[in-house]
């Protein structure tokens, strides 16, 4: 299991076990977990807690690692809160090969910089895209169509200049 010195907090939400670690310890913590049997990284992602009033957050970005032990069928979620512009955290692609693409996706969508990643480039968005679309301050965008909230404005006739 994960050494107590590395954990900040642990708990269970809706039946899912989780543990929080300091971002500087993420590589050591995941390495310890991998040695103790959690050999599969199911997914890696990020949650942006900008203006999230449901509780106090240790950082704006929460990087989430879902691990699984395929022998005991045990699952564990590891969280690390990061802040900064851009936020940095260590890459774990050397521990879990699937993290390679997942980290590229998280970089692409949230702008989290994974240090020591071999090829940290955009994966889903075009290479010349500006901004990180899944950040909460990135607008959804879209076109004004009938029944959309701007419908009133859309319906008024354009000014005749």
């Amino acid at each position: 299991m994960i050494p107590e010195t590395l954990t900040v907090e642990r708990g269970v939400t809706a039946g899912d076990a989780w543990v929080t670690v300091a971002p500087a310890n993420i590589h050591a913590a995941l390495s310890a977990l991998k040695d103790s049997g959690f050999r599969l990284l199911v997914f890696l992602t990020c949650v942006d807690h900008l203006a999230d009033a449901s509780r106090e957050w240790a950082g704006r970005y929460e990087v989430v690692y879902q691990l699984r032990d395929m022998e005991t069928r045990e699952q564990l979620r590891v969280r690390a809160y990061v802040d900064g512009d851009p936020p940095h955290i260590d890459s774990v692609h050397d521990l879990f090969p699937p993290a390679n693409w997942d980290e590229r996706e998280t970089y692409d969508m949230f702008g989290i910089v994974f240090d020591n990643h071999p090829d940290l480039t955009r994966i889903l968005m075009p290479d010349d895209w500006l901004g990180h679309p899944l950040r909460r301050d990135y607008p959804v965008g879209g076109e004004v169509v009938e029944f959309s909230e701007e419908h009133e404005r859309w319906q008024t006739a354009p000014d005749k200049a």
Binding site: T13, A14, G15, D16, R39, L40, L41, V42, F43, T45, V47, D48, H49, D52, A53, S54, R55, V64, Q66, M70, R73, Q75, R77, F96, P97, P98, N100, W101, M109, R122, I123, L124, M125, P126, P133, L134, R136, Y138, V140
Partner: protein, 408 residues
């Protein structure tokens, strides 16, 4: 010399010497190549016709589904889940619905569970049929598509009968299902379950002992069990490498523990092994469908919670409270307790998971789809290494990546 591939350029010489005396060539395979199953682009370094390096480039079908889900209310986000893995919409719905229900702390009635299993298995069959038909075409058995799409169409007819929509059904929702199945649906299902085993025999008679098909698939695209596990491959990719792992058995959901079926595995670890696994899975799916039909419990198909699901139409005419609930649900929706949850279900492609984060408001804070195809594409270079270009097509085919699922 650089290995860059410019816009519109199809072939670049890398300057490296190949084993056959020629130079290595970099070619762009896709994104609009018919055998890439959508818009997958592969940058391939070729020595003669052998693959020396392979880099998948994805994102051509990125539709921002996760971003859209954040902008929709909890009950509205179901419709975007339909659209990421567009060959198995009800299974995507199921992952999302189970995640939201887990956060809400509700459990759906037994009849809803059974209907969810029926829809999941029909979807698995439809998804495998598309795979079988298109793979058949790629490997020189063009009749397969006709046979497979014939049965797939009856499944789409059933989708239409039960939900009113042929592909993006949005049938499974948080709190239950859209509506109870009609008697006509069960007639269609009964006919389907009776005829499907002989249809699968028919597919097998066309492919299983077909010498061309066997030559094109046996020994091609080997992926050892250890590699498959480490690289995060799931579904038929993992079971085709001999690992007995199926979420329906390993972590049962929606009452799968009550059905008697086997996990299809194959020790061949190659394209042929993955083909055998999918054929066996189709047979097992028919078995589950038969059991689900026979044991279908009576009762409601939705939870009785007016805070989550709208009241029935009749109640609106007699109860003021029902009108208030109806109004509140359709103007602001419902709230979900803060927290996060991950639920994984087994789709035709592997582990289809949904990670949902709630901040206690009417809309999800974050919805992340753990896409099976995304993970299954990563071992592609390893599998295709030193194979011919034509074999690469077989390998992409048996990886069964749906690009909507990869790019979301």
């Amino acid at each position: 010399m650089s290995t860059e591939v410019g816009q519109g350029m199809t072939v670049t010489k890398t300057g490296e010497q190949g084993a056959f005396g020629g130079e290595l060539l970099t070619i762009n395979f896709g994104p609009h190549h018919p055998s890439t199953h959508g818009v997958l682009r592969l940058i391939v370094d070729l020595d003669g016709e052998q693959v020396r390096r392979l880099k998948p480039v994805i994102g051509y079908l990125h539709t921002g589904i996760e971003k859209q889900a954040e902008a929709l209310r909890w009950q509205q986000a179901v419709v975007v889940t339909d659209r990421h893995d567009y060959l198995s919409p009800p299974i995507n719905n199921l992952a999302y619905a189970l995640a939201v229900e887990k956060l809400l702390g509700v459990d759906v009635p037994p009849r809803a569970k059974a209907l969810r299993v029926i829809m999941s298995e029909l979807t698995r069959l439809a998804s495998h049929l598309v795979w079988l038909g298109t793979s058949g075409i790629e490997l020189g058995a063009s009749t397969m598509l006709m046979y497979c799409f014939r049965e797939r169409d009856t499944i789409l007819d059933m989708n239409e009968e039960i939900s009113g929509f042929r592909m993006h059904t949005s049938y499974i929702r948080p709190g239950g299902v859209m509506a109870d199945a009609t008697p006509r649906f069960f007639e269609m299902l009964d006919r389907f379950v009776r005829t499907m085993p002989s249809n699968i025999d028919e597919y097998e008679s066309l492919l299983t002992m077909n010498p061309i098909f066997r030559t094109r698939t046996i020994g091609i695209g080997r992926l050892s069990a250890e590699d498959a596990k480490v690289l995060g491959a799931t579904g038929p990719m993992l079971r085709g490498s001999g690992v007995e792992w199926d979420l329906r058995k390993a972590m049962p959901y929606s009452g799968y523990e009550n059905y008697d079926f086997e996990i299809a595995t194959s020790d061949l670890c190659d394209c042929y092994g993955r083909y055998l696994v999918r054929i066996k899975e189709m047979r097992e799916a028919v078995k589950i469908l038969r059991q689900a039909m026979d044991q279908l419990p009576d009762g409601p198909v939705n939870i009785d919670d007016r805070k989550v699901l709208p009241p029935p139409r009749e109640e609106l005419e007699t109860s003021m409270e029902a009108v208030i609930h109806h109004f509140k649900l359709f103007t602001e929706g419902y709230t979900v307790p803060p927290g996060d949850v991950y639920v994984a279900v087994e789709s035709g492609r592997g582990e289809n998971g949904c990670y949902v984060v709630s901040d206690g408001t009417h809309k999800p804070r974050r919805v992340k789809f753990r896409a099976a195809s995304f993970a299954n594409l990563q071992p592609l270079e390893q599998m295709a290494m030193n194979h011919m270009v034509a074999d690469m097509v077989a390998i992409i085919g048996t990886a069964d990546a749906v690009l909507g699922d990869v790019d979301r």
